[in-house]
Symmetry: C2
DNA sequence: CCGGGTGGATACCGACCGTTCTGTTGCTTT
DNA sequence: AAAGCAACAGAACGGTCGGTATCCACCCGG
């Protein structure tokens, strides 16, 4: 997942006026990697867009590979920050999970939505590559851990299992949105996630008006250390 | 989705003994594109592996782009053939849908599973590209149409909607399996699909069959031309 | 005033890219 | 035997790749 919503997290305030060469390179590389792919983006295009010299890039990052890793690392952190902030605006754990796919939909709707850099990066590199996949899995694990914690707080029977399923839905929606350019895949995936969440919480009806069994699972909202 | 199971569909029998240069080029290109990515695979490597001359490649395909499209077209057809044959072995529509993810799991378990060429191709090319995305969507639509028909035959309330959800689960599983190299994501996705199918068929144990108005949609199992 | 470090400009490196070219096999078909 | 033709080998094209070296213009603390 990649390319965070711009509005929040201006990182360093001074960057707005005097962005360092490093930041300019990171921004340019991020944009070009996302839009055109990593292999299809040359060093020259990056330094061109960043307005720096090639020497500066190699002084700072050492190699294109290291630049790629730096971009993924940074982009992952920004994306996770945006994602978690987006869903944590909701009040209850259930509402937070329910706002995952509306958040994704907003992301999909941006005109510069290019899919998930991590997924695309793994896809366009040799499949015996290790480093990129490790970085991607780390990113994924972080997001899934958060979802799992929410699932547990929401009273899901098997929180890890449910989080895994939601993660698959997220990946699928991200990919489908990239291919089709249709943000409404998020709605479809969101309804699937809601149904799975309903089932995992033991109440199959969408609106909890007609509660069938409802034994416990009402508590647990508290005492949840975020990790 | 890409890279079909080898055992069925030997295409032309004579190819086993005298594979034409075209077939050798297609096979080599397919393998290298899948394993190393399209942009990372040079013409030299393809003709090297195919054992043909560069001239032959350009006489037959005209350009690398055209070769890429030919590979996607062919690989898509092979994959769809394998996929549909795999799930159609089951007897009932419900069983056919239930065998989607076991089939994918077998695919994921191959040691030369490299994800979906279509998804990877879109991901590593400029996002304003049109042709690749069109080819990918065509492939996807074909598969989804088949799933939708099965969903309708299985008595799902909203077959197109369910098929769409299953498609997202498939894409998510394909991507997750590529990144994690863990074929069991197919199990997780499969259980999600089964739960959604249960719910869509109204026999989800607890769901009290809250039908809306929609009186029809019960027939239509027949007269469904797939492609 | 000086000296050192940061970063820009530019030319260059060997390697490889996709593509085209020339020329040569070897098997058909006449 | 002659001609045709698909496929071969291989060199070479202009261009770009990732990466390096050189030189120069600042800027800033002493």
């Amino acid at each position: 997942m990649a390319h965070a919503i711009p509005q929040d997290a201006p990182s360093h305030v001074s960057d707005i006026f005097h962005p360092t060469p490093r930041d300019r390179l990171m921004n340019a590389a991020t944009r070009l990697f996302c839009k055109y792919g990593i292999n299809a983006t040359g060093i020259d295009a990056i330094v061109d867009e960043a307005g720096t010299a090639k020497t500066t890039l190699y002084k700072i990052f050492g190699s294109k590979n290291d630049l790629v890793e730096a971009v993924l690392e940074s982009e992952g952190k920004i994306w996770r920050g945006w994602f978690i902030a987006s869903i944590e605006r909701a009040k209850t754990p259930r509402a937070k999970i329910d706002s995952i796919f509306p958040a994704l939909k907003k992301w999909f709707s941006e005109d510069d939505y290019y899919g998930c850099v991590f997924i695309n990066a793994v896809g366009e590199h040799p499949k015996d590559e290790t480093r990129l996949r490790a970085i991607t899995m780390e990113h994924k694990s972080f997001v899934l851990a958060h979802v799992e914690q929410l699932a547990r707080a929401a009273g899901a029977a098997k929180p890890a299992f449910l989080a895994h399923q939601i993660g698959i839905l997220m990946d699928g929606a991200i990919v489908a949105a990239m291919v089709t350019r249709d943000p409404t895949v998020a709605d479809t995936a969101g309804k699937a996630a809601a149904a799975l969440l309903d089932e995992a919480c033991g109440q199959s009806a969408k609106k909890p008006r007609r509660r069938r069994i409802q034994p416990s699972s009402r508590l647990g909202k508290e005492s949840l250390s975020v990790a």
